[in-house]
Symmetry: C2
């Protein structure tokens, strides 16, 4: 995560593709990989791959390429996947509970340490070993855990109110899964992941190709 | 979903934001909404909102705006959320099982009717009422269910092989949750949703704002 700022978002979105491919090569026992090889596999211009990789602290050898082991390690570190980012999840409904079940997040550096909900009956539950607290306990629990990230999976009509409370509790980055455009101060990071918006794009493209579906 | 093709992807991604906001207004009992109001809320240019809404079959009234009820109904229909798209999910691991638990997908038009896995011990299980079959049963089950969408949540190293089998079974659109760049024929739709790539972007921005974290 060192000197990781000023990296363009398109680069940050492509680097995990490269990582996935290089990990695959590692699993196959490959030792070196060239940027041309990555470019071909990912269907990106080779100069773009070289440019993207110039942001991370690795040097390839001319006409040989990058060491696979080193590239995997450096990419994982650079992308923050080897760090441990403590997170709270807000709104333990269907999607929220699903994310608590996804152990993959932890492998990518996100450790959800607690869930919060306004429903009294959720209080004290354990989901996949993760405790659920009432929303009113947020300030106390934040003192205890010191989370830096808030995952927002509440209903749309509560999104802004919950956002304000999370920020009030001192959380610095929000991963917003709701289709609501939350407003935050400039010092707070927001990452929007509206999986239902992706559905809309897919349905539209499917309909364009197969109008009868 | 009528005449929905040729809609630019950025528009398709913004329309669900508008829908979420207008549904919120509906819940509050509001009757009309102007494009200026939407623009202000979503933090988009008003002319952009008007342009985006010009793709859907709705007309606003000058100086009044759009009827909230109609706008909700037309947007939901246009985005495909009122249709029923049958889907198979491939790879009932942590993320795959999570998605089977997310009943929200059904509300947005995606009905996952079955899961598939290569592990024998998964065969015959029911997750959230959805049956899990062995991968080898795909051709037979596709005849039975006629799914149009494949949700891919397999490990990276199996992504391409599974993609090829799904396409071979006649499925027309793939929702790829793996960080692997799958290759498909031109007639097949791919929607990539790499939530771990979003994590990388968020970690990076968080680190830029709070280098000590």
């Amino acid at each position: 995560m060192k000197q990781a700022w000023k990296v363009p978002e398109p680069t940050l979105r492509r680097l995990p593709w490269y990582l996935a491919f290089v990990k695959l090569l590692k699993g196959r026992g490959e030792v070196v990989v060239s940027s041309t090889q990555i470019a071909k596999e990912i269907n990106v211009d080779p100069s773009q791959v070289a440019k993207d990789l110039s942001f991370i602290n690795i040097t390839g050898k001319t006409r040989v390429g990058y060491e696979v082991d080193t590239l995997v390690a450096v990419l994982e570190d650079f992308l923050g996947f080897t760090s441990r980012h403590k997170a709270f999840l807000f709104g333990v409904g269907s999607l929220g509970a699903s994310l608590l079940h996804d152990t993959g997040l932890r492998q990518y550096g996100l450790e959800i340490v607690a869930g919060f909900d306004v429903r009294e009956e959720m209080r004290g539950r354990l989901i996949n070993g993760i405790p659920v607290f009432h929303m009113r306990d947020l300030p106390a629990k934040q003192k205890e855990y010191g989370a830096t990230i808030g995952v927002i999976t509440v209903p749309v009509e509560r999104a802004q109110e919950v956002t304000d409370r999370i920020i009030g509790a001192g959380i610095k980055a929000l991963w917003n899964f709701t289709p609501f455009r939350i407003r935050v101060p400039e010092t707070v990071v927001v990452q929007n992941t509206s999986i239902y918006a992706h559905l809309a794009v897919m349905f539209n493209r499917l309909n364009a190709i197969n109008p009868e579906v």
